[in-house]
């Protein structure tokens, strides 16, 4: 049985370590904040200029001057600090954020990611995504394994314009978890399967070569 959106978020949350500074993208990544493991204290950065995102405000207490990068109203914590956009991206570009979790339209075996544009169809812009994938120490992609046409979003090479080249460390989909060896030019390793999802199913639905982690291979 494939993982739900919530389960994918929960699985991603297991990658959080105590003391981490983390930037969460919009969509499933935002849900990760709901599954931070007990005893793990992470600080969430919002690239519009906040370190230490708190929970959503109570009804009637929203402040238009206090939003996250997804433009949602939020609150702060006692440890929070505000800063400018240039300072915020100095923090991101400078490698000070431990982990970012982002959605994607395509991810490739070489660690490339495409998540910002479909030429001729979508004019939105990359926002801070290119900075995050280039600057953050560890990049995790959470997404459906296949698009709505049933085609694999895990590819040998991306077909869409890239957000970043050779930047992805880990891919968490509704079917499985794959590690990408970006330091060595790429190469995917299947390291975990969703419950009742088989290796054969992943093989059938993945348009990229991958190896299987020894533990999983034995189990299969």
């Amino acid at each position: 049985m494939a993982w739900t959106r919530e389960e994918v978020a929960a699985r991603a949350a297991k990658e959080l370590k105590d003391g981490f500074y983390v930037n969460l993208g919009i969509g499933i990544p935002t849900l990760v904040a709901n599954y931070i493991p007990e005893g793990v204290d992470v600080t969430l950065q919002s690239e519009n200029g906040l370190l230490g995102i708190g929970p959503f405000p109570y009804e009637g207490e929203a402040d238009p001057d206090l939003i996250n990068a997804g433009k949602q109203t939020i609150t702060i914590l006692p440890s929070s600090s505000f800063f400018s956009s240039a300072d915020s991206f100095a923090m991101i570009r400078g490698g000070h954020i431990d982990l970012t979790i982002l959605g994607a339209m395509e991810v490739a075996a070489n660690g490339d990611i495409a998540n910002w544009t479909i030429p001729g169809k979508m004019v939105k812009g990359m926002g801070g995504a290119m900075d995050l994938v280039a600057g953050v120490k560890k990049v995790i992609v959470v997404m459906d394994h296949a698009n709505k046409h049933g085609e694999s979003k895990v590819l040998e090479r991306c077909s869409l314009p890239l957000t970043g080249a050779g930047v992805v460390d880990l891919i968490i989909t509704d079917l499985c978890v794959m590690a990408c060896d970006k330091a060595n030019g790429g190469g995917l390793t299947l390291i975990e399967l969703a419950p009742d999802v088989t290796l054969d199913e992943v093989k059938a639905k993945t348009a990229a070569p991958f190896t299987v982690a020894p533990a999983l291979a034995e189990a299969a």
Partner: protein
């Protein structure tokens, strides 16, 4: 001291606007926008503007006004989603668009204010953003060269100004405003409150007065919320 306090948006922009000029406008989404100055630019009728701003406003609000009035020739931004009018004009070829990664945009603006004509960043290497730009290796990694951005006029929104032009911003409404304040040949700030010098903590000034030429009290301060997200209070 030359007086920096102006009586309103019209006075504050008087003599600064001309066709074909470049304007920087602070804000992230609809947070921290110079809400009083934008309509004044619209009313001035100035044309063929290049506007540098992270976003392009949203339906009926912010820079959207200058799109509607077709005063913008080119936008330099990082994200223009959630703006149908923009998409229409762009796809119809009526609007030029230069998309920048948000951090590259912020750094280019900072560089403009700091006298740095170019710098190298990892952001965008291997993507369309790096096309046509010098790419060079430093310590085994590739970086792309980006250039500074400066403006004829920067319009920013702050929370408070003192009469020397020192500014403080409020929460995440700070965003691009302090960086843009440094990169305009002339910088005009609108603020919620003008206070006497000595009222602001000198350790906590976000924009020193040297960067601010003209200050007004905001005449429009709507602060529209784009995505209201709240939680219920637990029952006692």
């Amino acid at each position: 001291m030359t007086n920096k306090i102006y009586e309103g948006p019209k006075a504050a922009l008087d003599g600064l606007l001309f066709d074909g000029m470049t304007i920087m406008s602070g804000g992230f989404g609809l947070s921290g926008n110079p809400e009083s100055l934008i309509p004044e630019i619209r009313d001035s009728g100035v044309k063929n503007l290049t506007v540098i701003s992270n976003n392009a406003g949203a339906d009926g609000f912010g820079l959207w006004m200058l799109l509607q009035s077709r005063q913008i020739k080119k936008m330099i931004a990082s994200y223009v989603g959630e703006n149908k009018l923009f998409e229409q004009q762009y796809l119809a070829g009526e609007l030029e668009l230069e998309l920048n990664p948000q951090g590259t945009l912020a750094e280019r603006i900072r560089a403009g204010g700091a006298g740095i004509p170019a710098f190298y960043t990892k952001t965008g290497v291997g993507t369309v953003v790096a096309e046509g730009k010098p790419v060079e290796e430093f310590e085994g990694q590739l970086y792309v060269r980006e250039t500074w951005l400066r403006a004829d006029v920067a319009i920013v929104k702050a929370w408070k100004a003192d009469t020397a032009g020192n500014l403080v911003y409020r929460k995440t409404a700070r965003n691009f405003n302090p960086n843009m304040a440094t990169a305009g040949k002339v910088t005009v700030a609108e603020v919620e409150e003008i206070v006497p010098v000595g009222s602001l903590d000198p350790e906590a000034i976000h924009t020193p007065g040297i960067y601010v030429d003209r200050v007004i009290k905001s005449t429009i301060n709507e602060k529209r919320i784009e995505k209201l997200t709240e939680r219920k209070r637990e029952a006692a």
